[in-house]
């Protein structure tokens, strides 16, 4: 089309101006749409596309009850009620509603925060339940908002709290299973990146929406049996009241698979009331975190080593004078008077240190604890029965303990003479109980475990893979002999404490403590290590008890054993063991 304008006409001028304006539009649009394209796209995206974190649910923790999982730790959504003082229309209505609906959860003197100037966020109440929050929402209170918070709930209260641990305000597990299995429990947050409307409702328009679903944490099932744990804790509380001891611990294990059935300590704490814990030491699980000199309980390990190496039998004799000299030190018996030619069974019954040192000597040349004897003891104590080694149990803060190697300068004959009766070495209760389990179960060491399996999203239970086991730490025959010796040791003095018709054995331990680098007799730790089960069968349980107190003389038989007795007799009923003649 050809336009004809008269020269210098107004129409021609107008056409030129319009053309210039159009050209400017074109240039400007080109600049905005082409050159500035990415900038405006990102501006639009930032307005229209919102990114949400899809929170993964932290896995729950279960215990066992016989063969059925029961919940110990759950999640609950609670709400923090806050107020924006700028938007408050009716202060009294807010005060009335909060007092009526969530009176027990409000902050102290919360009314004063409702109209506090210069702030847009004041917390009025915390840990408000969903039902309470819904009632408050119905009030349509201007300026009041709600933040949903997920928190751990403990239906069983403080049961097994030191095994469980807790979750801190950042959502990170601390102590116990919560810390050790934090990665498994926390899961993995997901992501939702989507176009939304002004109310943040996700819309499917656009081609940049991304949804990566959250992967919830694993629901872990512990090997802890709820009833055994409760009974163990009850026995500890009664033991504390009876003895006055200030620190008590107990561990109950199945020696035939290494599973921990109960693990408890006093003092303990309620994980739902962390703010009431005065001493952080209460968070520790002493059965795995506090190595100590096990004392006479270890005599069962020394006797087992001697039997397995063929240097003693229960009827082997030695001349007991209540004292025995090792290099420049003299070891004496705590129980004196059993002098003369006595059997090793007698030495174990009376917990005679001289008998254990004699076994250590017989592992060498018969008169001294030679390097060869020390190597043998180290092999059995450390390598086979894993004292002084991390067990690898799925709990946080496990301590290793110390068993001094003969390769070290400190690993001399004097050290090993002490180790023969459980001093001069540090081990945790878990290590001692696990090793003892191997000594009485036929000679297989089971790596201790606390995770029994998982529960999937549909509620189905899946057993965990078996942990490693090490058969042949001692021979089956040695194990049978050792178990019988431990049984006889208990029967010698305490036969009437057990239900008749069952096979219950045990060994007392009373350990001196070290003060300023020296052993003192003014403070002793009492322990009791034993097993129980049906006659003619592998033991069904191993129990170890420890009682301690600052400047207290606590002994294995008077203070620790009654706790063992109570749990052992209860276990016999609970496991429905059959009495036999």
């Amino acid at each position: 089309m050809e336009l004809h304008f008269a020269p210098k006409s107004r129409a021609r001028g107008l056409a030129i101006i319009l053309a210039i304006i159009m050209a400017l539009f074109v240039v400007r649009l080109f600049y905005i749409q082409v050159i500035q394209h990415q900038y405006y796209v990102s501006q639009a995206d930032s307005e229209q596309i919102k990114q949400f974190t899809l929170r993964a649910k932290r896995g729950e923790i279960y215990a066992m009850e016989a063969d059925k999982p029961v919940r110990l730790v759950m999640n609950e959504t609670v709400y923090t009620v806050w107020v924006d003082p700028v938007q408050v229309a009716d202060k009294q209505a807010i005060v009335d509603a909060l007092n009526r609906v969530a009176g027990g959860n409000t902050r102290k003197d919360f009314a004063q925060y409702i109209e506090r100037a210069g702030t847009r966020y004041q917390v009025l109440a915390t840990k408000v339940t969903r039902t309470q929050a819904e009632l408050l929402k119905k009030e349509n209170l201007a300026g009041v908002g709600f933040d949903a918070v997920s928190q751990r709930v403990y239906p069983e209260g403080q049961l097994a709290s030191q095994v469980l641990g807790f979750v801190d305000s950042e959502g990170v597990g601390k102590y116990g299973v919560e810390q050790a299995s934090n990665d498994r429990l926390r899961g993995q947050d997901g992501l939702l990146k989507t176009v939304t409307d002004v109310r943040l409702v996700p819309l499917t328009v656009g081609d940049k929406n991304i949804k990566k679903p959250a992967r919830d944490g694993d629901n872990l099932v512990l090997t802890i049996d709820r009833n055994i744990q409760a009974e163990a804790e009850k026995a500890l509380v009664e033991g504390m009241q009876r003895t006055g001891a200030t620190q008590l611990s107990v561990i109950v294990m199945n020696p035939n698979n290494g599973k921990v059935l109960a693990m408890a300590n006093l003092p303990t704490y309620d994980p739902s009331k962390l703010n009431e814990v005065a001493d952080a030491a209460a968070f520790n699980n002493d059965t795995i975190s506090n190595p100590y000199e096990p004392g006479s309980d270890i005599k069962t390990f020394t006797v087992a080593t001697g039997i397995d190496k063929g240097v003693i039998t229960p009827q082997s004799t030695y001349l007991n004078t209540d004292y025995i000299k090792i290099d420049d030190i003299t070891v004496s018996n705590a129980s004196k008077g059993q002098t003369g030619n006595i059997t090793m069974q007698h030495a174990l019954n009376w917990s005679l240190n001289t008998g254990m040192v004699t076994i250590a000597q017989r592992l060498g040349n018969g008169s001294s604890i030679t390097r060869s004897a020390r190597d043998t003891m180290y092999e059995y104590f450390h390598d086979r029965l894993r004292l002084g080694q991390l067990s690898g149990i799925e709990l946080a803060n496990e301590a290793k303990g110390v068993v001094v190697s003969p390769d070290e300068e400190q690993g001399n004959a004097v050290r090993y003479s002490n180790m023969a009766f459980g001093q001069g070495m540090d081990a945790t209760m878990l290590q001692v109980a696990s090793g003892f389990g191997a000594l009485v179960n036929g000679g297989t060491y089971y790596v201790p475990s606390i995770i029994n399996g998982t529960i999937d999203a549909d509620g189905n239970y899946h057993a965990a893979a078996d942990k490693p086991r090490y058969p042949g730490v001692i021979s089956p025959a040695s194990s049978t002999t050792l178990a019988e010796m431990v049984y006889q040791a208990r029967q010698a003095f305490y036969s009437k404490t057990d239900k008749p018709g069952f096979y219950v054995g045990g060994k007392t331990g009373t350990s001196q403590t070290i003060k300023n680098g020296k052993y003192v007799s003014t403070e002793t730790i009492g322990t009791y290590l034993g097993f129980g089960g049906e006659k003619g069968a592998s033991p069904s349980y191993v129990i170890m008890v420890e009682v301690a107190g600052k400047d207290m003389n606590l002994s294995g038989n008077a203070h620790a054993m009654p706790i063992f007795n109570e749990i052992s007799n209860w276990m016999i009923d609970y496991l429905r063991l059959t009495p036999r003649e």
């Binding site: 029961v70 919940r71 759950m74 999640n75 609950e76 959504t77 339940t129 969903r130 039902t131 709930v153 239906p155 069983e156 209260g157 049961l159 409307d197 409702v201 996700p202 819309l203 499917t204 328009v205 709820r226 009833n227 409760a230 239900k499 008749p500 018709g501 059959t578 009495p579 036999r580 003649e581």
Partner: protein, 116 residues
């Protein structure tokens, strides 16, 4: 009298002949100019745009429905969790121990074990 072809008929020889093809073609008497064509195209684009917007809005409508359902599912899931927590609390050992049923139980006076 001379004979002239009308514009309405086109000799078959002037088109590429093929079998089963009409030998005549209709040519409308209505002539559409370039402006009309432009307007029509613009109208078609507008209609297509409206259809797109309708469909897009319709999809957004589903989004709101889906969002409502998701909210309901979340609320019900929360409710279920609350009930599970309550159930766990009610069946906790301490709760069972303190129940009226447990308190009314008595200790047997004599128990005899059968031995094998």
């Amino acid at each position: 009298m001379s004979y002239t072809r009308t514009a309405q008929f086109t000799n078959r020889r002037t088109t590429n002949w093929s079998r089963n093809q009409n030998t005549v073609q209709f040519v409308s008497a209505v002539k559409l100019g370039p402006v009309t064509h432009t307007v029509l195209v613009a109208l078609m684009i507008t209609v297509l745009g409206l259809i797109y917007l309708t469909q897009a809005t319709r999809a957004s409508g589903y989004d709101y429905a889906a969002s409502d359902i998701t909210d309901k599912i979340s609320a019900l899931t929360e409710q279920k969790k609350d009930l599970e927590v309550e159930n766990a609390r009610l069946t906790a050992l301490q709760a069972v121990k303190n129940s009226s049923v447990a308190k009314s139980m008595t200790t047997p006076t004599d128990v005899q074990h059968v031995t094998e």
